[in-house]
């Protein structure tokens, strides 16, 4: 176990739980092995690792895009490792929000429509989502005047905040952020971290935050070091 903080056993269903998770593209090459991890609702995990350490693969596994070769993976109690590809897509739409490094938005859609995409795929009620999306965006510092403009008109910092609003709109169990601050300067980065974690807390959302930036560790209760995890790593 490489999880630094002790795991407290609670009777309630963990937001995410994985056991003996193993993944590889070819049996004789690089592989990823996670002996165990358990996150409760509202916990924030910092995943640290240089490029090539398997961060992306882990995110693909957690978000249901890739399927583990062996082991078990539960999101909100649902066995992701057993679900079909189409069911995993549905699960991702409803329970997982993703924020990328940058270029999170579809440039030709408005800010509001970009936000509403997640609710659309999660099959949420349109009018209800719209009201919630406006509220979320406003709280994230994107006033109504900005909400109708094209996503491409926003600054990078604003775009990343829209990405958070989109990720949180369908009230996901899990928010996955893949180096969302790498394109931001220090001031913007700190503002972004505070706003993201505050909104995640307000929504009771578990956060998995991936970065190579050690200085961001201060925002998190727990951390996972990819370098120590990957077994039989071959540099790629």
């Amino acid at each position: 176990m490489t999880v630094e903080q002790p795991v407290t056993d609670k009777p309630k269903i963990p937001a995410i739980e994985l056991k003996q998770l193993r993944f590889f593209y070819q049996p004789d090459s690089w592989q990823l092995y996670l002996p165990g991890l358990r996150l409760d609702a509202g916990e924030h995990l910092f995943v640290r690792g240089a490029s090539g350490s398997g961060k992306t693969t882990l995110l693909n596994l957690l978000s249901g895009i890739a399927r583990p070769v062996s082991g078990e993976l539960y999101i909100n109690g649902q066995p992701l490792h057993q679900l079909s590809s189409s069911k995993r897509d549905t699960l991702r739409a409803q329970h997982i929000g993703v924020v990328f490094q940058q270029l999170n938005l579809i440039p030709y859609l408005s800010v509001l429509d970009n936000t509403l995409l997640s609710a659309h795929f999660a099959g949420k009620h349109q009018a209800e989502s719209r009201a919630r999306a406006r509220e979320l965006l406003s709280r994230l510092g994107l006033p109504a005047t900005l909400q109708q403009s094209r996503a491409s008109a926003l600054s990078v910092g604003q775009q990343q905040r829209v990405a958070i609003a989109r990720a949180l709109l369908p009230k996901p169990t899990l928010l996955i952020a893949d180096e969302p601050t790498s394109a931001l300067d220090t001031d913007n980065r700190d503002a972004f971290m505070r706003v993201m974690l505050a909104e995640a807390d307000a929504n009771g959302c578990t956060v998995i935050f991936v970065s190579h930036d050690q200085s961001l560790l201060q925002y998190f209760h727990r951390q996972l070091d990819m370098q120590k995890l990957a077994q039989g790593v071959q540099p790629c």
């Binding site: 992306t56 995110l59 693909n60 978000s63 895009i65 890739a66 590809s85 189409s86 897509d89 549905t90 991702r92 739409a93 409803q94 993703v98 990328f100 490094q101 940058q102 270029l103 999170n104 938005l105 579809i106 440039p107 030709y108 859609l109 429509d113 509403l116 995409l117 997640s118 659309h120 795929f121 999660a122 989109r166 893949d178």
Partner: protein
């Protein structure tokens, strides 16, 4: 939302989409246009003569007879004697007949000798009769009624005098100068060879040839117009005759009787059948045109698919975002198909507008220059078949970029970065 994505994504790539749309519009308009023209041309062609049950001429092939009697193309091999014609008109089944006497011309336009039965019984298109735009039918021997195009092209007015030429060449060295004709009537346009014909009476044809023998003026024998009128002007022969029967049922019987006429070798044809046979010969060209336009359409569709495939690279990010927010790969497949559907539908709409517009502009000149009456209504059953076929083909070809999007979505996962 799917619709909005497709619409806005297309708008976002409007540069390339515009070119695709343009090439599709042109090729669809071409295809529909050629299909429309061939149907309409066939209608126009086969409606050159209507209401006539039989065309009778000297023994020859049916196409030859049709071409010279109706289309004024080529020449008769022999004439029908006046006696035979008289016997034909007295046949109990014959209701009316129009004699046709050809062989002279006026500045490239054929001269046709006929009787006033022509104005009464000749029908074209959907049984439309001839109408006079100006003036009246010919009464006197040296009077003529002009087809619409003859009058328009040569700028003739009522009362003008014209001189007929011997033979059918555009430039003739032997003119019937001594017997000029007065224009007494001008026919309304019909869109048939009638427009290109100079009509005179049978007696006039006889009168101008009184002092001629074997295609040349007889030396030492000159008759003035006045002297000619004093002669017996009963024609000795005619070129052909159009016949209307009392009962359609009798058509084949009468045709056989004429073909077996003992006194003179004659041929009777059914104009509808002969026209259809003639059109058959032209249909190879028509099919070739259609094939070419189909290939042009295919090229445009392949162009569209190429553009879409090329754009998949720059849209990788867009696809990854959709995928990360929860889109199933099928969603991306449908999105691409929807985009193709939108472009194709839009192109079909503009193609229809383009085609209608050009037809509206060209209709008059087509009718005037080629004798083709092209209707403006391009929406008919075959158009709908074509539209459905084009859509189907487009969707089928769109499977290529759509599958590419689908597979990329599965393979790339969330890893797309710059």
């Amino acid at each position: 939302m799917l619709m909005k994505l497709a619409r806005l994504s297309l708008w976002n790539r409007r540069g390339t989409v515009l070119m695709t749309w343009l090439s599709l519009t042109i090729s669809i308009a071409l295809l529909l246009g050629i299909d429309h023209l061939r149907t309409e041309a066939k209608n126009s062609f086969t409606s050159t003569v209507s209401g006539t049950d039989l065309i009778v001429g000297a023994r020859s092939g049916q196409l030859n007879l049709l071409l010279y009697s109706v289309f004024r193309i080529g020449n008769a091999t022999a004439n029908i004697s006046w006696d035979s014609y008289q016997r034909l008109t007295k046949h109990p089944q014959v209701s009316w007949s129009i004699p046709v006497s050809l062989g002279d011309s006026h500045r490239g336009y054929r001269v046709m000798g006929t009787s006033t039965a022509y104005f009464e019984h000749y029908r074209y298109a959907n049984a439309q009769p001839l109408t006079l735009a100006q003036g009246q039918q010919f009464n006197g021997v040296f009077e003529t009624v002009l087809g619409a195009e003859v009058a328009a092209k040569l700028g003739y007015q009522l009362g003008e005098q014209i001189v007929l030429s011997h033979g059918v060449g555009a430039v003739s060295f032997s003119q019937h100068k001594d017997k000029p004709f007065t224009v007494v009537g001008i026919l309304a346009p019909t869109g048939t060879p009638v427009d290109q014909t100079v009509h005179v009476s049978l007696e006039a044809i006889e009168a101008i040839h009184l002092d001629w023998q074997q295609g040349a003026p007889m030396p030492g024998r000159q008759l003035s117009a006045g002297q000619a009128l004093a002669q017996d002007l009963t024609p000795k022969s005619i070129t052909a005759a159009m016949v209307g029967l009392k009962s359609r049922m009798a058509t084949f019987t009468v045709q056989r009787q004429i073909n077996e006429f003992k006194a003179e070798p004659l041929t009777a044809i059914l104009p509808g059948v002969a026209l259809a046979e003639l059109w058959q010969m032209l249909s190879m060209v028509e099919n070739l045109l259609l094939l070419i336009s189909l290939l042009v359409l295919l090229a445009a569709l392949v162009g569209m698919v190429t553009t879409l495939l090329a754009s998949m690279k720059e849209r990788q990010r867009e696809m990854a975002i959709l995928r990360a927010t929860g889109a199933h790969p099928w969603y991306l497949f449908v999105l691409i198909q929807l985009e193709v559907l939108l472009i194709t539908l839009l192109s079909m709409l503009t193609a229809a507008l383009l085609l209608s517009g050009s037809l509206l502009l060209l209709q008059d000149s087509l009718a005037a220059n080629y004798g083709l009456f092209i209707g403006l209504n391009i929406i008919k059953l075959t158009t709908l078949y074509w539209a459905a076929g084009i859509l189907l083909l487009a969707m089928l070809l769109a499977v290529i970029p759509a599958v590419s999007a689908y597979r990329k979505a599965l393979a790339d996962g969330l890893t797309v970065r710059l």
